[in-house]
Structure formats: structure tokens, C-alpha cells
């Protein structure tokens, strides 16, 4: 089969010392930032982007992918030991994971998280291997109207489903949208919102916005409440590992988590957050030990941790085949591709097959590395949590400033980054999620361009969005995404039951 041949060629590249080293660096950095609360893979990849201009694209992307799923592994450690999610995809893990740790079963919780991540990561990479080439061929049929419908689905589901408040999600999305509109409009060549500053003609780089919002904003926020934070890291006294009973209970949860994580990651619905909560809810409902929930049920760690790793491979599917990022980290990965003059999309598999398959092969390799990093070496990562915050964030600020300046030797970029950082601080302060802003920055201009292209091609006929089957079904899915959170309330109202008003919420308003 062609896929196997391609994958074997991919492995022959991925197993060369240079790429092995880059994958190892990537997963190590990824685990570290996953462990550290407040610093996620999106920020890390944004910080490293300017430094990798001189790498070859395959090597850089292998490293970035390693950071992304390394973050998924590392996040669980913090969730379990600190009761603070290392990043948003680990929010669900905190619920049972911390409870297990307080009852002296931290070792088992860490083990099921790491092994589950490995099982689900490998399984979902297999799914990616077989679905991506198929979807890349199907994606060749996508016309502007279809792409527009897809972007609408993506940003509606991200803002409607993630976070505690629809309004906050929308605010964040529109902040991103505004930054996205600055610069020369691709379609008409006209200049928008540059206020006569020539440096703004090409728009604001996604790296500047990401480093500003994530790094500067977070640093200001941490500084603003420095005195109030004292966190205790639970010591791990028990052996890292599971007994027979724990293995037996983890297996089905891992598999279910992987099966939930991969397709939901692949849908334009915002990455890993929703699948982890779905998995948590599902495990709770299926559990034969309902009395244990809240006091440390192992399925509550195994399922979500498997789901968030599987979601990462899922996120890669639309990114590689349609050029559509579905999470903040994926948006930055897209920027990384574009720096190397590579356009993710239906033609990527034809134009750069070596890169794609080496990247996919490196995911298998990276998963093995992460299993080693996160089981025998777990105690080293716990040490990272003892680094004083002040040192950590000043380091990040220096690194971010240097990185943004070196990108195009532009002082204006640095000023912009700090200005955007102040906005980021206020967003953090008022609990406005940052993820939608990054997606808005990338997705909204895409949506606008495709909308106008579709109308130009149809010569102004709006029916183009409902006469093409692909576009129509995507828009219907969008409608479902809007209604879904209110469904329980609606059903109750129709059946005459009284319930407290509210909407179904996935996630806690944190973001990756």
C-alpha cells in the first residue's frame, strides 16, 4: 500500500540522528512547558519561531510538533500534583487526579496519565496516517464557499463551546479579528487600519500577537498578584506505576478517550478541551464505581489524558490537509509552515511528501520518547515546579523581546508586542480567554477572503453558500454548534420541567 511505503520513507528520515535530536529537544521542552502552569505550547512555539529561521523546515516542524504533544503529557503532572492544570487540556485531569494524589495514589495517577497518553497518542497517529491522505484528496474539491462555511463552523464552535461565557469568547475573537484586519487586503490591494505606519502594511505578525498576549500578558498578571500566590507541590512518595486492578480499569478508558479525542480534535471545534471533558463525563457515567468519583477514580485521569493526546493528532488533520487551524497552537504552527513558504492544504501532500511523512513518522518516535521522559524521569519534572515564578517570567520576557526583535529587526514590532501585552493583561484580569483571539487573528481574515472570493466567483449571488453540498452541510453543523449548549435547557422547557437557566459548558475558560 502506498501509505505504508510513504510512512517507511518518513521513518527513514525521522530516524536520522539530526531529526531524532530535534524531536528529543521538542518533547523535552514541551514536557517542561506543559508542567509549568501558565506557559503553554502555543506560547513556546511562538517564542521559538524566530529562532528557527535557519533550520530546515522538516526539522523545525518536528520540534514544534514535539513541543505541542509534549505539552499534553506534561500538563497532567501539574494537574495531579498541584491541583492547577499545566495547560487547558488538562483541566479535566485535575478533578480526579488531585484527589488521587491527596489520597497517596499520585504514582498510579501519573502512570495512567503517561501510559494512557502513549497509547492514545500512538493510536491516533495511526488514524492520522490513514485519514489525512484521504482527506487531502477530498479537500481538493473545496471551493471558497466551502472554506468560508468551514471557518464559520470553526470560530462559532470555538467561542460558543469553550469558556464560561459566550460574551467573553466573542470579545476575544473580535480583538483577534481587529488585529487580523490590519494591513494590505489581499483581494483588493487596499490598505486598512495602518494609520500611515508603513511597518503595518504587511499586517501584525501572529508571533507578535501571541507573545504579547500569552507571555507579556501572563507575566504582568503573575506580577500583579505575586504576593497572593503560594502553592504546595504534593510529594510523590509512592512508586510510579499501577497495580493489576488499576491497569484493568485504565485500559477501556484510554481506548474510549482516544476514540473521542481524535475525531473531536479533527473537527474545527477548538482542539483538546472539549474532548477531555466529554471523556471525563463519559467515564463517570459508565463507571462501575460511582462512589469513588470525587475521591480519586482512576478512569477520570486515564480517559481525559488519553483524549487530549489523541486530539493533538486530530488537530493535525485539518491543519495539514485544509490549512485550517483549530486551536491556538495550530494557528501558530500554520504560521511556522508559512515562514518556510509552505502552504498547508490539499497540495501539501503532493508538494512536500517527505516533510509530511517525516513529520508523521516523528510523532510515533516522539510518543516513545515521551513515555520514557514521563515515567522513569518524572521526578525531574516535578522539580521544575519549584523554580521561582519571578525568575521564570523575567526569563520569558527577555526571551520574547529578543525573539520578536530578531524576527525582522523591527523596533515597532517590540513596541506592538508590549502594547498587545497590556491588552493581554486586562484580558487575563477579566477572565477573557486568549485562545479565540489567536484563532480570530488567523481565521477571520481567512473567512473574509473566502467569503469575498466566493461572491466574486458567483458574481454576487449569495445562494452559492447553500447550493454547494459541502458548504450547506458545514453551515448546518454550525447551527448545531450554536444550539447545542442550550439544548438541555430547551428540552427541559419543552417537557415542562423547571431548571436553573444556563448553558452546557465545556471547559473552564482557560485556554492553551
Amino acid at each position: 500500500m502506498e501509505v505504508f511505503q510513504q510512512l517507511l520513507i518518513g521513518f527513514s528520515h525521522a530516524l536520522t540522528p539530526q531529526y531524532l535530536l530535534l524531536a528529543a529537544i521538542g518533547v523535552t521542552i514541551g514536557t517542561a512547558v506543559g508542567v509549568l502552569p501558565g506557559i503553554g505550547p502555543a506560547l513556546t512555539v511562538a517564542l521559538l519561531l524566530p529562532l528557527t529561521y535557519n533550520f530546515d523546515p522538516t526539522g523545525a516542524l518536528i520540534m514544534f510538533a514535539g513541543i505541542y504533544y509534549g505539552g499534553m503529557y506534561g500538563g497532567s503532572t501539574t494537574s495531579i500534583l498541584l491541583n492547577t492544570p499545566g495547560e487547558s487540556a488538562s483541566v479535566a485531569t485535575t478533578l480526579e487526579g488531585f484527589a488521587m494524589a491527596t489520597s497517596g495514589r499520585a504514582g498510579a495517577a501519573l502512570a495512567t496519565a503517561a501510559i494512557g497518553s502513549f497509547v492514545a497518542g500512538t493510536l491516533s497517529t495511526l488514524l492520522l496516517t490513514f485519514t489525512a491522505p484521504w482527506l487531502a484528496r477530498a479537500a481538493l474539491l473545496f471551493q471558497p464557499a466551502d472554506y468560508f462555511a468551514l471557518t464559520v463552523l470553526a470560530f462559532v464552535s470555538v467561542t460558543a463551546l469553550v469558556g464560561s461565557s459566550l460574551l467573553r469568547g466573542m470579545i476575544s475573537l473580535f480583538i483577534g479579528l481587529f488585529f487580523g484586519l490590519i494591513g494590505i487586503d489581499v483581494l483588493s490591494g487596499q490598505v486598512r487600519y495602518t494609520f500611515g505606519v508603513v511597518e503595518l502594511l504587511d499586517g501584525i505578525d501572529v508571533v507578535v500577537v501571541a507573545v504579547g498576549l500569552f507571555a507579556v500578558g501572563e507575566a504582568l498578571f503573575v506580577a500583579s498578584q505575586f504576593r497572593q500566590r503560594r502553592e504546595e507541590v504534593l510529594a510523590v512518595r509512592s512508586r510510579i506505576g499501577m497495580n493489576r486492578e488499576e491497569w484493568r480499569r485504565s485500559w477501556p478508558a484510554w481506548l474510549r478517550g482516544a476514540l473521542i479525542g481524535f475525531p473531536l480534535g479533527a473537527l474545527p471545534a477548538g482542539g483538546a478541551e472539549i474532548p477531555t471533558f466529554l471523556s471525563y463525563t463519559l467515564e463517570k457515567r459508565l463507571s462501575k464505581h460511582p462512589d469513588e468519583w470525587g475521591r480519586g477514580a482512576i478512569e477520570g485521569v486515564a480517559g481525559p489524558e488519553a483524549a487530549n493526546n489523541a486530539a493533538f493528532s486530530g488537530v493535525l488533520v485539518p491543519l495539514l490537509t485544509l490549512g485550517l487551524p483549530t486551536s491556538a497552537t495550530a494557528a501558530i504552527l500554520l504560521a511556522a509552515f508559512q515562514i518556510y513558504n509552505l502552504q498547508p492544504g490539499p497540495l501539501l501532500f503532493q508538494k512536500a511528501p517527505d516533510l509530511v511523512w517525516t513529520l508523521i513518522a516523528s510523532l510515533y518516535v516522539g510518543n516513545v520518547m515521551l513515555l520514557i521522559l514521563n515515567l522513569p524521569l518524572i521526578r525531574i519534572w516535578i522539580k521544575i515546579l519549584t523554580i521561582p515564578r519571578s525568575l521564570l517570567y523575567s526569563g520569558i520576557l527577555v526571551f520574547g523581546t529578543l525573539g520578536v526583535y530578531s524576527m525582522s529587526n523591527s523596533f515597532i514590532d517590540v513596541l506592538l508586542m508590549y502594547g498587545i501585552g497590556v491588552i493581554g493583561f486586562f484580558m487575563r484580569r477579566f477572565r477573557i480567554p486568549i485562545g479565540p483571539a489567536i484563532l480570530g487573528l488567523i481565521l477571520m481574515p481567512l473567512a473574509e477572503a473566502h467569503f469575498r472570493r466566493a461572491l466574486a466567483i458567483s458574481q454576487g449571488d449569495l445562494s452559492v453558500f447553500v447550493t454547494r453540498p459541502i458548504a450547506l452541510s458545514l453551515l448546518l453543523a454550525t447551527l448545531v454548534a450554536i444550539i447545542l449548549p442550550y439544548l438541555p435547557v430547551l428540552i427541559n422547557r419543552l417537557t415542562g420541567k423547571r431548571t436553573p437557566a444556563g448553558r452546557l459548558v465545556f471547559g473552564q475558560g482557560e485556554e492553551d
Binding site: L140, F142, D185, L201, G345, S408, A456
Partner: protein
């Protein structure tokens, strides 16, 4: 200076020159990038900082001519010293393999009958691809303002759009479409060079009865206010570079067409292009 980010055409031209000049002059040559806005940010910096320095060179091309005008840049190419044309690539006009158009003439017939019904997919508005469609429209008597041009951010995106059948025809550099044409998924109707291109099975626009030729050229410019002696010396160095094995290797490796024209010949060519491009951009409604 390469007035674009690393990895693009101007950058790779500058880096090939770096190797070739270092070999022919036995001196260290440095490349630095100032990216943005079709090269006009780099141009502005070059005009201000390189004045009178014969050792400063800047790569540029057709895209910069257009960008200066559409971006209303505060500087223009008359402020720098044109030295030599280096390379050029022809544009190609393609349709998807299942399109009803077999020849350029058929496409143009329909274009003349109902201009807005034909959608052209290509690179960004005001770029080389857009300019070519404008020139074609003018040559066949269609008002360029009626062109239904669908701009994409790059050749790769445009290629996907053409394959999906979203646009009637596609316009981009010959090399951008070469793979798809070879694979039989696209049909090349015409190329924009003066002479037919070896190994490309498509007539020139002129052979197809449209009196248009356009090359996407790249050139090298010197600093403002060079003396006649300085200019002559730099041109001599560039001629030596052009003859070097390193430069010829770079041409072959990158698939660039040699288009070397130095000194006054280039200056005349440049003035011609500026006038012609400005006129078509005005017709397209991109500059007032």
C-alpha cells in the same frame, strides 16, 4: 539587501549573488533582509541609509514596481541606481484538465463576450499575475475594470483553487504550475514570454494572437547618488559575476532564466516597465 523575508525569490537571488560575488571579488559579501510591503520598506531604508555607498546593493523586481505605486510608497526606483537585470520567469495561463477551454483563443472569445463570467485566480491584487490579466484585457479590448480577478495569497493557494474548479482560469509563474501540468490535472493554454519556452508545451500569448509579453524579472540596484565611475565599476563587477561558474550553477540549480542586461539597457527597460505597469494598475483601479 534582500527586501523580503528569508526563503523567497529575492532572498535566494541575493544569496546566489553572495556566493558568486565572493568568488569573483575575493571579498566577504553579506546579505541582510528587510522584509515587508512588496519590498518598499526595504527600498525606503536603502534610499535613506545607503546613499553614495557603492558597496551596497539591493535586489528587486517587477513586484516592487507595482508595490511602490499601489502602496503609495514615499520612495521610488528613480532614487536608486539601476545596475543590471538578472533573471526572469514567464507567466502561464492554465485551466483545470476538465475545463471546456482547449485553447487560449476559446477562453478569450468568452472573455470578450462576457468579461465578468470568466474568473481569474492568481496571486495578490496588483501583483504580477493581476498585471498580466490587465494587460491581456487591454490587448483584446476589454476594460480592465471589468476583470473578475480572484486574488490568493500565493501560488500554492491559487493552484488549489484552480484544481477545485472554483475559478475559470489560473495565472502564475510557469514553474508554479509545472508539476500539475505534468501530472495532467491542469492544461497550460499560454505562456507570457516573447519566445516559446523549451520543454513547455504551450504557445506564447503573441502566437495565440494576443499582443502581450510580460516577464517577472529580478534585478539588482545600487545606492542613490553613485558617481559615474562608481556605477561603471559596480556594473563591471556584476558582469564578471554573471560570467562566473558559481552564478551559472545557481541559475541551473534554481531553474532561473538568464535575463542579464546591464547599465543603460536596463535603465531603459526599467523606465518602460514603470510606465507600462503604472498604466495598467490605473486601469485596474488599484491606483488613482
Amino acid at each position: 539587501m534582500a527586501p523580503a523575508s528569508p526563503g523567497g525569490g529575492w532572498d535566494s537571488t541575493a544569496r546566489a549573488m553572495q556566493t558568486a560575488l565572493a568568488a569573483t571579488t575575493n571579498q566577504t559579501v553579506q546579505v541582510y533582509n528587510v522584509s515587508g510591503a512588496g519590498g518598499t520598506i526595504g527600498l525606503a531604508q536603502f534610499v535613506n541609509e545607503a546613499k553614495g555607498k557603492p558597496h551596497e546593493l539591493m535586489v528587486g523586481g517587477l513586484v516592487m514596481v507595482g508595490a511602490i505605486q499601489t502602496n503609495k510608497a514615499p520612495v521610488n526606483l528613480s532614487q536608486v541606481t539601476p545596475l543590471a537585470l538578472l533573471t526572469a520567469e514567464a507567466e502561464a495561463i492554465v485551466v483545470p484538465a476538465d475545463s471546456k477551454y482547449q485553447t487560449m483563443q476559446e477562453l478569450i472569445e468568452d472573455f470578450k463576450a462576457n468579461p465578468t463570467a470568466i474568473s481569474w485566480g492568481g496571486g495578490s491584487a496588483g501583483g504580477t499575475d493581476h498585471i498580466l490579466v490587465g494587460l491581456i484585457a487591454k490587448a483584446v479590448g476589454v476594460s480592465p475594470a471589468q476583470i473578475n480577478y480572484i486574488a490568493y495569497s500565493g501560488g500554492g493557494e491559487a493552484t488549489a483553487a484552480i484544481l477545485s474548479g472554483a475559478v475559470t482560469a489560473g495565472v502564475s509563474g510557469v514553474s508554479e504550475f509545472a508539476e500539475q501540468v505534468a501530472a495532467g490535472t491542469m492544461r497550460m493554454l499560454a505562456v507570457s514570454s516573447e519566445q516559446p519556452i523549451e520543454g513547455v508545451n504551450a504557445p506564447t500569448l503573441k502566437e495565440a494572437g494576443i499582443d502581450v509579453a510580460l516577464m517577472n524579472w529580478r534585478a539588482v540596484f545600487g545606492a542613490p547618488d553613485l558617481t559615474a565611475e562608481q556605477r561603471a565599476a559596480v556594473i563591471a563587477a556584476l558582469e564578471k559575476m554573471h560570467a562566473s561558474k558559481e552564478w551559472q550553477d545557481a541559475l541551473a540549480k534554481n531553474g532561473w532564466t538568464d535575463y542579464f542586461r546591464a547599465g543603460d539597457e536596463f535603465s531603459a527597460f526599467l523606465n518602460n516597465e514603470i510606465t507600462r505597469i503604472e498604466a495598467v494598475l490605473r486601469d485596474l483601479g488599484l491606483i488613482q
